[in-house]
């Protein structure tokens, strides 16, 4: 039995793909959990011919920094903001050779920012392992004004671009890296449903 909307992305736990010759892990916030599991799996598999690097942005969740630093020997770079991480990631990918494996872990908004940067560098999305960690908050694109709101946690929100109250659908665009939202009270202006935290 198939349920729900087919465009909704599926995430899975990061696993070392030992066919790769170099492994780049990119994570934000609670994505550190995925890094820990990845590194344990890596040690258990033991692959002396390959190496991995980690780019990490703690975001507001700083409790993982110590853990990440311990994990990754000299291979970890911790960034104070996402912009810094993104520019280093773009440079790494531009210089990447065949055999690179890319892994990303964090919120959905973060995952799809990384996918967009990788696409620019010529990597196809299905070559990237993606694990959602921590918040279920969604990146959402308003169908009316195209403004993307980064971390939407409610069924309905007021679009920061056009001010309309919009409803978050399950329909997801990989190219935009966002769910779609549509005006919720168009047929009955001012009648808003109860606003609930559904993607906390």
């Amino acid at each position: 039995m198939i349920e729900g909307i087919k465009s909704r992305p599926v995430y899975s736990d990061l696993r070392p793909d030992l066919d790769g010759s170099h492994h780049l892990l990119v994570a934000e916030g609670a994505g550190a959990e995925a890094l820990v599991r990845f590194c344990h799996a890596w040690d258990a598999a033991g692959d002396p011919d390959a190496d991995y690097d980690i780019l990490y942005h703690p975001d507001e969740d700083r409790r993982w920094i110590g853990t990440v630093n311990e994990l990754a020997r000299e291979a970890v770079a911790v960034f104070v903001n996402r912009v810094g991480l993104e520019s280093v990631l773009a440079r790494r990918l531009a210089a990447a050779r065949m055999g690179l494996r890319l892994y990303v872990a964090g919120s959905e908004g973060f995952i799809w920012r990384v996918v967009a940067i990788a696409r620019e560098a010529g990597l196809s999305e299905d070559a990237i392992q993606k694990e959602r960690c921590g918040t279920q908050a969604r990146p959402v694109s308003c169908v009316h004004c195209k403004t993307i709101a980064d971390d939407v946690t409610t069924n309905v929100y007021q679009c920061p671009g056009c001010g309309l109250h919009v409803f978050v659908r399950d329909h997801f665009s990989r190219l935009l890296g966002a769910y779609q939202s549509v005006c919720v009270d168009a047929e009955n202006p001012g009648e808003l449903p109860e606003i609930e935290e559904v993607y906390a």
């Binding site: 198939i2 169908v143 009316h144 005006c183 168009a186 047929e187």
Partner: protein, 354 residues
Amino acid sequence: MSAQLQINDPKIKPIETFRDDFTYSNSPEAIRRFPFPFHEDKYMYSVNIEPHNVGPAGSVFAPAFDIDEHYLSEIEERRRVLEEDPGRCAVLPHMMEAQWDTLELLMTSLARDYPQHFKLERNGDRWTWENRLLGIKDTFTFDDASTLPYEPFEYITRQVQGDFTLHGQRNNMLYMDGGMVTCQADWSLQFDLGMDFYEWHGPVPKAHEMGIFERALKYLLNLQVGQPVRRLNWTMTVHPRMDTSPENYHKWGIDRSQVTADNVGELAHLRVELQSLFRLPRSNAIIFSIRCYLISLNELVTVPKWARRFHRVHKSLPPELADYKGFSGYQPYVIDFLSQYDDGAPTSPGTQPD
């Protein structure tokens, strides 16, 4: 009989509007040739794909791309939509060859089917296109986009009724790689751009479980050049509004709450899409034509068979389909209105008026 004799000679009306004062209406001839989609007294999803380019003389199925009395009105409406939102036309960069394929297919088809209105002269790669209805005569170099005022896909689809989407085929999958989408039934090209076949059909209820999309995709992947296919789809629209886009839903959604028992015959329209698909020869892409026809209930009930049948279709429609199609709120008025025209008599087979 030659091909040209079978094709309707459209008496093109002056420009009518699909917004604000809504002056659009159908002539008695346009009503008779309306593509009424129900071949029996009930409706359920089906793939219902059949060969295109064979159809009764004068019908909307006879030409490759139907031109009718609303040509000037629909072209003007498209221009207005694009002026407000240029993103309604978008093609991904790898589809340039498919753009030229589209231009060739549309120009050669229109010049063949409507020689009184369109003319194409080809002198090697120097082509001259004449569209007498719009007063256009342009000479350009095939395969050189700089010789046209727009990219080739936008150039030609600004001159043809109906929406168009372009689908690249890779790894046994079709992708939404471009389109000209200004008269759509509530889906967004900008949002769906780049999606695969299952993704862009994601929001359609029921059909996934029924395996409809698996079968349809398999069929379309094998579509052959020169053997186009078609199907009909339908919904309801309040007012003769072409642009029922999600982009503008906050402007037109209110219409749905304004239907009453008194105005339903005038306001509620059956909206039928004649969807046809053509394999393109060089790019191996597929061009999907979504040609939209609108008829008010008042106009529809002038054909007694259609009035009876449409009443029975509405009465037996699964509620989740009415919800998905967006007319469950005013459907009771539609059913009440149509019931006046249903005396319980049997309806004849087929979709044609009696």
